[in-house]
Symmetry: C2
Subunit: 331 residues, 2 copies
């Protein structure tokens, strides 16, 4: 399959991604693709306004990870971060439930200042990513604010309130993406998905409910993905019923979904052509694949090699699916 | 005079102050007065909007100095400050001409957030000062923005642009206080100046053009000072033709003023009842005192003892002036 992987490696690739898990695969894709070949459509559903600053956690995790300045042990934030701001904020009686590192603050301050001046999140993100040397085009899923809201028996929570302040503890009854109906595809997202050299679209192993589906909720996104006419390859964020990180499995269960790779695939029905999951999860998927090519592989990314290996596999699978389609078209 | 000093020490005192030099005397006054007796009306003419944050340099210098958390060697900012934000900002290509320390940022972020939410600078400053334990009522000269503008042959400059970015190098032709005409006395300033127990008003040794006169430019301020009916004691920021710190002498010369204690006193004519200057500067003042009580003393504050000594002298002079008035009234 290495020839197929290299073939996909010549074209452009778009990945849909949330933060930590998706950023790992994005880093692998960056490393195995030609320079400039990767664009990542980043979830902005968990962006929020805090202390007058617009914080974009997934964009920043992607920028830091791809630029090689991320804190690898915690998965978010910057390596070598300092915390004087938080100490001073605490002394002033300010809110301390959301950690803002001193260096990280520069991203939020610059972003907020430029947003207030009327610039688009797309333009700002491009500059921030370039300034730090991400080497990847990072595209906010939309320029208009879309805000993921978590529905619980006790009421609707802002996403970061649920996720960070309440540590994902409340039982959820639903998830919605406020503002999604008014959002539109940015020119940059439309151009990336419509690019003539596009070879594959990747759904990164991120939480479907709070990372991928907010992206898919932007009007026109699903259509643009289908219209791209390239292989769409999903990677399961759930391994043997466990999320690699975060509350994915818990959230899926609470809203009545199967907290398995099969449960994830069910959310991507009609979107993905191929789905990569842990080999142990493949048997349970086989009855419900509905034409989706299933690939069993280790999707856990602990090392840099793991990221590269999974990225290569994703591209190989995409090439194989595309090749199968081309063959089918010829017969 | 110690009895008179103690008498003034029983009442309340209001000081008008800019940043560094004024804050030194304010600290002395705090130390020699009864707890809660001192209010400082702070210059906000050098406040500015930077990166979407409202920065109030003189208020913060006062808060830090009075709370004992200031960086004593540089005169501004916090002791033990870290600078990760500035490094990160520089990496993003952001403006680095104005130094924002990581801890200092908490003040600006909280202030800006609360201003945007519609709170007054007076209310916000009170909370920040209390949180850090300033032990002094710090009152912005006005809640509405007043912005000191520096007129030069090459055009009008924002104050911080002139002062920090251009290091006070351009030759100035004038100074104006934009927005002053629309500003009003806050209830808190009016209450401090109208307090029944007010014993003295102090004009701290700050730059007259950019620290004291912006305060005096707030409509109603001069009248409220006069109406207070207490001794007003000024302290010269110029010693033998040299400013202790900053561009005071240079600025005064450039707009055609005498860069001496006499030149400073000329600006405070009609405001001060007494003026304290270096003994060497007294002879030149004597011909032009116009009824102002002149006191020669060392006004350089290097040590904490210097601050206490000058503060005690200011209170003694105020008590003496008030005593003289009372005596004059009786005859």
């Amino acid at each position: 399959m290495s020839g197929e992987g290299q073939a996909a490696g010549q074209g452009k690739v778009v990945a849909l991604s949330g933060g930590i898990g998706g950023a790992k695969l994005a880093l692998g894709l960056k490393r195995v693709l030609a320079p400039g070949a990767l664009s990542v459509i980043a979830n902005t559903g968990d962006d929020f306004e805090h202390l007058g600053l617009t914080v974009s956690p997934d964009i920043d995790t992607l920028v830091y990870t791809l630029a090689g300045v991320s804190n690898r042990s915690q998965g978010w934030g910057r390596e070598g971060e300092t915390w004087s701001f938080m100490s001073a904020l605490e002394a002033l009686g300010g809110p301390t439930w959301f950690q803002l590192g001193d260096g990280d603050l520069a991203m939020h301050v610059v972003r907020s200042d430029r947003l207030r001046a009327g610039e688009t999140l797309t333009a700002i993100t491009a500059d921030l990513a370039q300034a730090l040397g991400a080497g990847v085009t990072i595209l906010p899923m939309a320029d208009r604010p879309v805000r993921t809201k978590i529905e619980t028996a006790a009421g609707v929570l802002d996403f970061q309130d649920y996720f960070v302040r309440l540590r994902s503890e409340p039982e959820i009854t639903g998830v919605r993406y406020e503002g999604a109906e008014a959002a539109t595809l940015s020119d940059a997202v439309a151009a990336a998905l419509g690019h003539a050299a596009l070879a594959a679209i990747v759904i990164a192993p991120s939480n479907p409910l709070i990372s991928i589906e907010p992206i898919l909720a932007v009007p026109g996104m699903r259509d643009a993905i289908r219209a791209a006419g390239v292989a769409v390859v999903g990677v399961s964020p759930v391994i043997r019923g466990q999320a690699v990180k975060g509350p994915t499995a818990k959230m899926m269960r609470e809203i009545g979904l199967e907290a398995t790779a099969a449960g994830v695939l069910a959310r991507y029905r009609g979107i993905v052509d191929a789905f990569i999951a842990d080999p142990d999860d493949i048997p349970a998927l086989e009855g419900h694949a509905g034409g989706v090519t299933l690939v069993g592989a280790n999707v856990m990314m602990k090392t840099l090699d793991d990221r590269d290996r999974l990225a290569r596999l994703v591209l190989q699978v995409a090439a194989k699916v595309a090749g199968g389609r081309a063959t089918a078209g010829k017969t």
